[in-house]
Symmetry: C2
Subunit: 198 residues, 2 copies
Amino acid sequence: MPTIKYYLREGLLPAGELTSPNQAHYGEEHLRRLRLVRALLDVGGLSLASVKEVLGLIDAQDESLHQKLGLVQEAITTPSGAPLDPAAVDQANAYLDRLGLPREDHGVEQSRVTRRLAEALSAARQVGHDRFAELLDAYADGLRIMAEADVAYIAKHSKVDDVVEGMVVATLIGDAVLTAARRLAQVPVSERLIGTGD
Amino acid sequence: MPTIKYYLREGLLPAGELTSPNQAHYGEEHLRRLRLVRALLDVGGLSLASVKEVLGLIDAQDESLHQKLGLVQEAITTPSGAPLDPAAVDQANAYLDRLGLPREDHGVEQSRVTRRLAEALSAARQVGHDRFAELLDAYADGLRIMAEADVAYIAKHSKVDDVVEGMVVATLIGDAVLTAARRLAQVPVSERLIGTGD
């Protein structure tokens, strides 16, 4: 297990319980932490420093699990830093309003996730798709259904490490599943709406 | 307009109608093609050779618009080439069945899009999330709603270049909008289902 030794040395895993001078016992909690560290490194592509930061957030005593999930979601999100079109920021804010998320907590200055949304809407405007946000409106019911599924998927675990690990996997691998599944879901709709037209 | 000259030289835009020995007139069709070429290069990140290939597909006489959209969707998709877990291929096939898409046309050997889906499901299995495909099942209704919105967004145009341009933008910028919007949609659900629990 060279990897585990490496994680121990880097402080990503707590030391096991010594059962003899050169043997340590690792229990269920260690296994959870190990799975989480691997998800953050391998699936999330996070640096060792970021993983340590995330583990610190998870181990903090004064935050609810919901708050921890939000902090981790931010930690695994990297905006491109592209300039934002003010009209796209308005569109992102309108989406926050729709979800009932206060702008003072979730605005583009407060949240990397919202910034990424505003960046994507800015990119759409830049290529002349000013009304792309209407598509986001039309997605709303679908997004709600998927968010319910995501949260149910991760909430079936009872330990915080498992919940966070589930969120990291569901978020990052979920992106790839979702974007591919979406293209396939378009095929029968296109066949029906466009197929025989031209 | 140095860019337009470059596109003309590379054969991505047809020559305009000569109105005098050194002036050419470019009409509405040229503008459509210009928008499409920019979407493929700038939004899609395609190479010049790929753009030419896509334009050839669009200009082919013997395919329906629906078929052209499918061919372009494939052309703008690049699987990672990661090894596929046979169980993940089964899960991807089950999704095709659900959409009514024949495996002999849309299987992992035939479609880069399906291959990408199977790659993502393989990645989930590799980190111990064997039941990730259940999440895909739970997404199904949401995905259908979004696919209807996507196709309606692109089908409001009447010219093939505009329809394809809309699809490229909606697909690629849509991925970024969707994955960010999904994270935000999780927040109120997490607050309700997880928030007060821990």
